[in-house]
């Protein structure tokens, strides 16, 4: 009677190799992005933090980048995957420029390209661990869309990623309206970013706001929000309840 003893070593090595070829978990992550359409185009806000698990490792990461002449891409999630996406888009824009035909990639085209990339990577069980926000203006039409790491893609008047989904979206649903002025739009975004700063542990008080209009893309210099921590009740929370905390 013969019997074969299954040898495990080869398989586990193969599995380890196979696993190292695909993204299993994110490592350095960016937190939420919040974006709205306004009168002249699109406004997008993000903070500049890159968290390594629970440590705030990097505090100078620009998570919003201009793509071509008409679009702005913001990303939350794994930073290295975001940089990879920027490389893909660089190649895309380069090829588009080489045509030299007077036409240039608009936000709708870039959004579609990103959706295809994200969805196909997800089908191969090797996702790019990002939620992307794509905003832009071309020929007077503003466009704002979102793609998630599993390929869910849609466009809307206001979008938010990560914690922004839970904390910023209720505010945007209540207070967004069409034809916001630039100042009102920035105020609304700052309101959302302030709540995120209070309640999201991976948020830092250093943010950028980017504006896309027909003229082009401008990303502001980093600045910080004013926060208020001096509620009397927070100062001495256990005043009447000695022994508790």
């Amino acid at each position: 009677m013969t019997f074969t003893i299954p040898i495990d070593n080869g398989d586990s090595v193969k599995n380890a190799e196979a696993d190292s070829q695909r993204t299993l978990y994110p490592y350095v992550t960016g937190t939420s992005i919040v974006a709205i359409k306004y009168k002249d185009g699109v406004l997008m806000a993000s903070d500049m933090g890159g968290s390594y698990g629970s440590t705030l490792r990097y505090k100078n990461i620009e998570r919003m980048k201009a793509i071509g002449k008409h679009s702005l891409l913001g990303a939350s999630g794994e930073i290295s995957d975001f940089q990879e996406i920027l490389r893909y888009l660089d190649e895309l824009v380069l090829n588009d420029n080489m045509w030299d035909d007077g036409n240039s990639l608009g936000p709708k085209e870039v959004h579609n390209y990103l959706t295809r990339v994200m969805y196909n990577r997800r089908n191969k069980f090797n996702p790019l661990w990002n939620t992307l926000v794509l905003g832009g203006v071309k020929n007077g039409e503003s466009y704002l869309g979102m793609v998630s790491m599993i390929g869910v893609s849609f466009e809307d008047n206001h979008v938010a990623t990560g914690f922004g989904n839970h904390l910023a979206r209720p505010i945007l649903r209540d207070e967004w309206h069409a034809d916001l002025s630039f100042e009102d739009g920035v105020k609304l975004l700052e309101k959302c970013m302030r709540v995120l700063l209070y309640r999201d542990r991976s948020a830092i008080n250093k943010l950028q706001i980017a504006k896309i209009t027909e003229e082009g893309v401008t990303v502001s210099q980093p600045y910080s929000l004013k926060t208020f921590w001096e509620f009397k009740a927070f100062n001495n929370p256990t005043a009447g309840a000695e022994g508790s905390w």
Binding site: H166, P170, R194, V195, G240, A241
Partner: protein, 236 residues
């Protein structure tokens, strides 16, 4: 020698007595009941002299009453807090109750949150439940100190509505409870932002003619109002 059985109080901690029985029943084919998870949004807010609760639980009221009789003093909010957190901690998080506790006692208004494992927070405004982030975003954006009663009610209702409309696990109407020194006021169905859109004017009619076999009317007992006699407190 006579054996006297003394009722020993449970030593505390989770009581695993029924686990063996449950395992045996599952082996015999009984399907374990699943948790009925109800999504909710509950918020609490302190305004000038008092506080609000939009959802409350009265598990320890009987214990507090006994405590009042024994000490001869009015109950304090931290007493209820300690009773609740001891109870929840002893179940090590298996009692999945997340609570917002508020009240006004001799030391002033208080607001606490209690988590299923027994930890507590003391805050000027608090939210719990699946809609807590939606409600918290309203509070963080709009809370300020020195709110009047009406402003407070409006803010709490707004926070609950944010939970109702933005959280899939919460819905229907807003109930508010306003507690001030000495009295509480239930504003049940303070807002009904989700009315039934189409109501048939005919009302509901049963399909077949139902035969009445027997009619029996039981009058409900009248609620007895107890008015506390304000006199001298017990001797200390």
């Amino acid at each position: 020698m006579s054996q006297s059985t003394v009722d020993v109080p449970p030593k505390g901690g989770f009581s695993f007595d029924l686990c063996k029985r449950n395992d045996m029943l599952i082996q015999k084919g009984l399907k374990a009941p699943s948790f009925l998870k109800t999504g909710t949004t509950i918020v609490g807010l302190i305004f000038k002299l008092s506080w609000f609760l939009s959802h409350c639980s009265d598990m320890v009221s009987s214990q507090l009453r006994l405590h009042r009789y024994q000490t001869g003093r009015d109950s304090r909010v931290i007493t209820a807090l300690t009773l609740l957190k001891k109870h929840l901690f002893s179940y090590q998080g298996h009692v999945s109750a997340a609570l917002v506790l508020g009240g006004v006692d001799i030391t002033g208004p208080h607001l606490h949150t209690i988590y299923p494992h027994g930890s507590t927070d003391t805050l000027p405004f608090a939210t719990m439940g699946s809609g807590s982030l939606a409600a918290m975003s309203v509070f963080e954006a709009k809370y300020k100190e020195g709110l009047t009663r009406d402003e407070g009610i409006k803010l709490v209702a707004e926070a609950i509505c944010s939970g109702i409309f933005n959280d899939l696990g919460s819905g229907s109407n807003v109930d508010i409870c306003v507690i001030t020194k000495g009295n509480k006021e239930y504003l049940r169905n303070y807002m009904e932002p989700n009315p039934r859109t189409y109501v048939s004017s005919k009302g509901y009619s049963f399909t077949k003619k139902t035969e009445v076999l027997r009619t029996k009317i039981t009058p409900l007992m009248e609620r007895v109002e107890i008015t506390e006699v304000t006199g001298e407190a017990m001797e200390e």
